[in-house]
Symmetry: C2
Subunit: 202 residues, 2 copies
């Protein structure tokens, strides 16, 4: 089948993508940032409301402010982490220090309008597309979600919009690859518990 090579291209990017928590300071071109944002702009959304707004930050001063605001909420989370998050953070040496918010040359703060229909699914579809385009650019990112971090004031974003994630973008220093559950554990055919198998006939 002549299309296989091309069909597997996105899968290749998806399989190779790996979240990074450490970045070099090497700058990212404006063209790359533009293409990364374009990927988010073309995501589908509930009733086509496109309920997202992305703030791109490259200046050290707001990056520092964002880091301080995020580490403040991290201190609360790390005090009493819910499981399995707590264990996972310990295993991966993830602390409340978020140096990547200053080290990454670019941050994209993704906001959304919670009043739009299907707002959270929509903004996360856009973030997913952004993560893949970032990988395609030879760059790394992390869908970092500092729950409760108050970044609206720092970035002059109206209070009506809520933060979904802060995405550091840059040349990443890759972490440990994350193991995946096998396909048969995460997909069923017709009925939960009847594993979907690569080789079974649907």
């Amino acid at each position: 089948m002549i299309l296989i090579q091309s069909e597997q291209d996105i899968l290749h990017t998806i399989r190779n993508r790996q979240s990074a928590r450490a970045f070099s300071s090497e700058p990212v071109s404006h063209e790359a940032i533009t293409r990364i944002l374009e990927a988010g702009r073309h995501a589908p959304s509930g009733a086509n409301q496109q309920p997202w707004h992305f703030v791109v930050i490259t200046d050290p001063v707001p990056k520092r402010e964002i880091r301080v605001a995020c580490e403040r909420v991290e201190a609360r989370l790390h005090g009493f982490p819910p499981e399995p998050l707590g264990n996972w953070m310990k295993e991966h040496s993830i602390t409340q220090e978020k140096a990547f918010l200053e080290d990454a040359p670019v941050l994209i703060a993704a906001f959304f309008d919670p009043k739009a229909p299907y707002a959270i699914p929509s903004v996360w579809l856009a973030i997913g597309f952004i993560l893949l385009q970032t990988e395609k650019e030879g760059l790394s990112s992390l869908p970092y979600t500092p729950a409760g971090a108050e970044l609206n004031a720092i970035l002059s974003v109206p209070e009506a919009l809520r933060l979904a994630a802060v995405l550091p973008i840059g040349k990443g220093i890759p972490g440990k690859p994350q193991p995946r559950k096998p396909l048969t554990a995460i997909a069923s055919l017709h009925s939960f518990g009847t594993p979907f198998d690569r080789t079974s006939t649907p």
Copy 2:
């Protein structure tokens, strides 16, 4: 720059993807379904919990049951649709009839464990990856979210898992392309209201 062609490949897929609400019954190969599921399987997730389960449905009987269950909740939604959803559905001739749930050769019901950390963002990242691989296969889909539809019993899915979306997959009959807000309206540089421009220096 020699990488441009390859870099823009995912963007090309993202820009061309269009949700479909009508499908031909032409079957989808098992290999294509497998690659589509593989795309979801490799999405990032909170604490790498991979809190998703995908049920693939190709049989007419459960497809019919799913349609009936979804149209039941659609009847309620269409009775008192919130705006701007109501107007948008009217403009796009979207009614409570969901024939695509029977017409599409494949449905993927995406469930998630709401107790996992960042469960909703995680499952929507996986759904986004699935939508792109579907497009790459030359197929169409729709991130259809029948809020409150009770599909667990039909698909023997434990009550602990919740439905995120039902994705019809097949040769789609494309709808009207959805217009997008310009980049300058959905992206700012450093401060909300300072438009991010393709040509400005970050």
